[in-house]
Structure formats: structure tokens, C-alpha cells
């Protein structure tokens, strides 16, 4: 999971919420820009990228495609994609 905020702020979020996993910081929004997530009210929009073992994109969802309110992939959908790639 990647946040578009500084490492320090990301740490605060993780510590405050006591998250059992790490969150990565993309303060300069390089990945957000590279994947063309675009912005809304100054904040980049969300996206999912699933890559295979060769580093090829096998699944890509951006809020700008399909619309944030039409379809919003959740964990189970992404896990199914990962399993499908692994089983292929």
C-alpha cells in the first residue's frame, strides 16, 4: 500500500492505527503520476496494479476508469487476480 504523503506522516498513520503491515510513501507522487491516476481536490486518486513474476502488469484499475462510484475493487477481487496469475 502506497500513500502520497511523507514517510514521517505515513509512519504516524501506521502507528496511530496500529497497523500490522507497512505502508510505503510516495511523497513526490512519482508512482501516482506514472500510472496516471489523476487528481481530485488536490489528492491523487486511487489505483490497483497487479504485476506478475516477470514484472508485467496483469491487472490495472484506476478510479478514472470505470469511475470511482461504479466499481471499486476490494481485497477479495485482487486476491482472486493474484491467485489466478499464480495458478496459471
Amino acid at each position: 500500500m502506497v500513500f502520497p504523503i511523507s514517510h514521517e506522516l505515513t509512519k504516524v498513520v501506521v502507528d496511530t492505527l496500529d497497523l500490522p503491515y507497512a505502508i510505503y510513501s510516495d511523497e513526490d507522487r512519482e508512482l501516482f503520476t506514472a500510472y496516471e491516476t489523476r487528481f481530485s481536490a488536490g489528492a491523487p486518486l486511487p489505483a490497483w496494479i497487479v504485476g506478475d513474476t516477470d514484472g508485467v502488469i496483469r491487472f490495472l484499475w484506476r478510479a478514472t476508469e470505470g469511475g470511482l462510484f461504479d466499481h471499486y475493487p476490494e481485497g477479495p477481487e485482487i486476491l482472486a487476480v493474484l491467485r489466478e496469475i499464480q495458478g496459471a
Binding site: 500500500m1 502506497v2 500513500f3 502520497p4 514517510h7 505515513t10 509512519k11 498513520v13 501506521v14 502507528d15 497497523l19 507497512a22 505502508i23 510505503y24 510513501s25 510516495d26 512519482e30 508512482l31 501516482f32 506514472a34 500510472y35 496516471e36 491516476t37 489523476r38 487528481f39 481530485s40 481536490a41 488536490g42 489528492a43 491523487p44 486518486l45 486511487p46 489505483a47 490497483w48 496494479i49 497487479v50 504485476g51 506478475d52 513474476t53 516477470d54 514484472g55 508485467v56 502488469i57 496483469r58 491487472f59 490495472l60 484506476r62 478510479a63 478514472t64 476508469e65 469511475g67 470511482l68 462510484f69 485482487i78 487476480v81 493474484l82 496469475i85 499464480q86
Partner: protein, 135 residues
Amino acid sequence: MSDEPTTEKARRPDPVGKAGSTAIGEKLSALRSGNGPGGLGLSPKEMRKLVKQSDGVSMMNQAPRLSADSVGPLEHMLRMVPTTRRHKEPRIKVGDPVVDFSLLGSNGETVSLESLRGSKPFAIRLTRAIGSGVI
């Protein structure tokens, strides 16, 4: 000049009429006792003119906003139809290589494309913000 749309105009979406027919638009109309879509005392023709003049509709194109005063007049915001759809095809698509990256994690460890490649498929979630949940 007539209010009747031309054939070409009829094919275009009417953001004012569309916003006025949404649930919030209808509520606003009811609050202002039926003064047109949105109920701010302007006729549909006046609202269309206002929206065109100040580019209120193009706010849906999701450009970066640097301060609250760059968002636009309240009248326009009330009539924005929620959308995140893009108008141009993105360059990066399924089948392309994953963009190279190196990111510092909250645990102090750095993860890169190179470190993920080769063992298992992986998922990257670019997350927008934190609210009551992660959105």
C-alpha cells in the same frame, strides 16, 4: 433567442439539468421552492450561462487543486456531477511492464520493483487518503 436546444446541442449532456435532477439537486430545489434546477433562484438558461462562463463543469476533469479558492463558486460545486472518468486513454495498460520504483516503508525498509520481481505476483495499492477508512 429560444431556449430550445439545437440537434447538436441535444446530443451533448446537459450538466445543469442532470445535476438538478439528482437527489441533492431535487432537495435544493425543494428547499428553494422550485426556482429551477438546484433552486438558487436562477433559471436553467441563466445557470447554463453561469456554468459555461466560469468553467464549473470542467472541474470534473480532476485537475490538481492547490487551495480552496481555486475550486470555484458554490453554485458550480453544487451542480457538479460526481465523476472520475477520464477523457483520454491512459498510456499505461495491462501487458505493459510495471513502472520501476523504490519506496521507503513505514517500517524503515525500502521496497523496489526489483525486490518484488521473480518470486510471486504482487499487488500495489495506490491509496488516496485516510478517512474513517482507507479510501
